[in-house]
Amino acid sequence: MSVIQTNMLKKKFGDKYVLKGINLNIDAGQVVGYIGPNGAGKSTTIKIISGIIDEFDGDVSVFGLDVRKNTIEIKQRIGYIPEQASLYEVLTPIEYLRFVGKLYALEDDVISTKSWELLRLFELADKAETRMNTYSKGMKQKVLLISGLIHNPEIIFLDEPLSGLDANAVILVKEILMQLKQAGKTIFYSSHIMDVVEKISDRIIIIDKGYVIADGSFETLKEQAHKGSLENIFTSLTGGNEHNTSTAKEFINVLRS
């Protein structure tokens, strides 16, 4: 059954449409990679589905519930992890997680044991009582990940979850996503890193200029790309197309001058 459904989803900022009619149908347990160039509307889509932006055209439902009407229930059952590490930096991770946990109406001792355990697994236990304004971007991202998962949500939205993480943490997060998938969670995430998208996604959706331009598994997309229709987008995302090579050459020439 489909847990996320959007029907002719449109959104405009000012007089400019960022999303121009997005139709999505995502089944429970799927891992969906949502990709596209900068400014394509990835974050906006995620924010609308998770009930953060409530002004939009079209219909969006999660768990069969209307996002506009059942916002609170939906938010309780999903986890959202934003791109920029926005959290209250003057708090310690323990204090921050306690804050978030209480907002999800978890019991105090549950929050406490969970936070300590999860921080330990992310190797942050020794810094758990230090204020986060001294943290690196990767460390904040880890706390953010924990804060989005602490209430054991059914659907997880991640906006560029791997940015700023070191190589080890990337592997760890990838593993965690795989485990979550096996536990039957639905994962919807946006990313630039094709290598990761390729490895863990069941399904890839590419958007550009406010439209969905491709939808399917990595293999099918690759085939389509070779037929020409998607080539530009896909190669610019996977890297190594002719345009980039020529830009690089020009760059070197300017340096020499």
Partner: protein, 554 residues
């Protein structure tokens, strides 16, 4: 104190909370916010190299309470209750609005807050109420700190009835100050984007710091001025001012005088604040928060298609060509010029010391106890112009102690990674900026004032003073530890020997003023000393330019 206030407010909310409010979530949100307020270092008194205190908010509140103590004295010193009340209400209105703009704006304009709270299952009424409770806790703390002394004084001097009325009118003043603040914000939002707002708020903060720096010096002196009985006449426009409504209301209860004018004032005092706040919450606030929300979204859109092409030559780039001896020096010059224009922390630390110039002039020249007009009339017969000549040293040389520090200190790796053979030239470039950008304009203004008072006989002295100022400035730069501009982290404890240096500095300045004073006795001597001073200044500048890496601390 904040926690007690919060508890009280929450109890109050619980009594009246209806179904739509999620009390547990309200509690955790407000508790967290209050805790964060405690840890946020206040905007207006970031003094130099202060170490992070445990509860900076408490420090601010104590400062405010002290200020309230000074202001509260007017209740005893002014014979007219009405004037004293106008003074206190105006003060509260000003302070509340300024605090809200400078300090609380960090909270109000925090778009990260939306990112954190919106994805969580909280209904909008609870979220709204949590904001209201948070703001109320914040306001009540400052309200208490600011008014505790004046209110106690009112009780002592005028009895409980006037005291209680004063509390009421002061509270109404706070409500009105919120509306004023809101209007300020709405105005700024109307014309500016997020970055602009931060800049504007920054200027308010600088203004506040100056206000406090100067206020602490001048207000206690003003109170001694024994002008206990100046009268206050109500012009027609007085009726438009909120503090006058409040003061008139208190006065009317004190005199038990309820004529038409007083009743009208009481009506204004009660109705206007309540109506404006109601109007704001009902109609203006929703569009305000939408605008704020849109702001962060706009920023995203703009970022993607903004192309910067026109590179206008900055002032400093033109100036550097005439003033600097090498490309290294002009690099230092341009950098320091631009950063001192843009870095808020530099401005917050340095501009108040410029404002101190006024204070010093006031204190030195018009020593208290004497009649100002009399001093002014006889000023041209004295040698007070020496103060005008050497005042800039005291305040402007403080910039030397500020420029080594910057929040972005780690960017100084660039000095090490480039083949820089004469690091001293970067420092000398910075010093030239301080002299040209701050010293020369201030000196010219002071010269203008002195010229007006003493006439052209001063030109020689001011020329000598010009080089002497530069000489001492460079001497201080030579004695101080040398570090490259904006290369060090603030907050780090200063190395020892600071006091010795400061003393040495004062002795040098004193000695130079003494020499100049003595030289005045011989008519031609000051002018003859000009080349000597200029030469020594030049040699000192050369020394800095030739500083090797070894003598520069990183």
């Amino acid at each position: 104190m904040d926690k007690i206030l919060l508890k009280l407010l929450l109890k109050f909310v619980k009594l009246f909370a209806n179904k739509g409010i999620d009390f547990e979530r309200l509690k955790i949100i407000t508790e967290t916010k209050v805790m964060m307020d405690r840890r946020r270092s206040p905007a207006s008194w970031k003094r130099k190299q202060q170490k992070e205190s445990k509860n900076p908010l408490m420090m601010t509140l104590i400062m405010y309470a002290l200020m309230g103590l000074f202001i509260g004295v007017v209740i005893f010193s002014l014979k007219s209750l009405l004037v004293a009340m106008i003074f206190i209400h105006a003060y509260l209105l000003f302070m509340m609005a300024m605090t809200l703009v400078t300090d609380f704006s960090a909270v109000l304009l925090d778009t990260a807050d939306n990112q954190i709270l919106l994805p969580k299952p909280i209904n909008s009424r609870t979220l709204f109420l949590s904001r209201v409770v948070h703001i109320l806790v914040y306001l009540s703390q400052f309200f208490l700190a600011l008014t505790i002394a004046p209110v106690i004084f009112t009780f002592i001097n005028y009895g409980p009835l006037v005291g209680l009325t004063t509390i009421l009118t002061l509270m109404l003043t706070v409500a009105f100050s919120i509306f004023i603040t809101y209007l300020l914000y709405a105005l700024i939002l109307r014309f500016a984007n997020e970055q602009k707002i931060k800049d504007i708020v920054g200027y308010f903060q600088i203004f506040m710091t100056i206000f406090f720096a100067v206020g602490y010096q001048i207000i206690p002196r003003l109170i001694n001025f024994d002008n206990g009985n100046f009268t206050f006449t109500l012009h027609w426009y007085s009726y438009l001012l909120a503090p006058v409504w409040m003061a008139m209301s208190v006065d009317s209860l004190y005199q038990m005088n309820f004529n038409n004018i007083h009743l009208l004032m009481i009506a204004c005092a009660v109705i206007v604040p309540i109506f404006t706040v109601w109007f704001m919450v009902k109609f203006l606030a929703p569009s305000f928060s939408r605008k704020l929300g849109a702001m962060s979204n706009d920023a995203e859109v703009i970022k993607t298609n903004k192309v910067v092409v026109n590179h206008k030559k900055d002032w400093s780039e033109k100036l550097a060509r005439f003033i600097c001896i090498s490309r290294t020096e002009s690099a230092g010059f341009e950098k320091v010029w631009k950063i001192t224009s843009r870095d808020k922390n530099f401005k917050v630390q340095f501009y108040p010391s410029l404002a101190y110039l006024l204070v010093f002039a006031f204190v030195f020249i018009f020593k208290s106890g004497k009649n100002i007009t009399e001093v002014w009339a006889h000023l041209h017969e004295t040698k007070m112009f020496l103060w005008f000549i050497y005042l800039p040293l005291i305040s402007i040389s403080s910039s030397l102690a500020i420029i080594p520090f910057n929040e972005n200190f780690s960017a100084a790796w660039i000095y090490q990674s480039v083949p820089l053979t004469k690091p001293g030239e970067i420092i000398s470039g910075g010093i030239k900026v301080l002299l040209i950008k701050f010293f020369i304009p201030v000196y010219l203004i002071l010269f203008g004032v002195a010229f007006y008072i003493w006439g052209q006989a001063l030109i020689g002295d001011f020329t000598l003073g010009f080089f002497n100022n530069i000489l001492i400035f460079l001497l201080i730069a030579n004695i101080n530890e040398h570090s490259l501009p904006f290369s060090r982290q603030a907050n780090i404890k200063q190395q020892s020997g600071k006091i010795v240096r400061a003393l040495l500095q004062l002795i040098l300045i004193g000695a130079l003023i003494g020499i100049h004073f003595l030289a005045l006795k011989i008519f031609w001597l000051p002018s003859a000393l000009i080349p000597v001073s200029a030469t020594v200044a030049y040699l000192l500048l050369r020394r800095i330019q030739n500083l090797p890496w070894l003598q520069i601390s990183i």
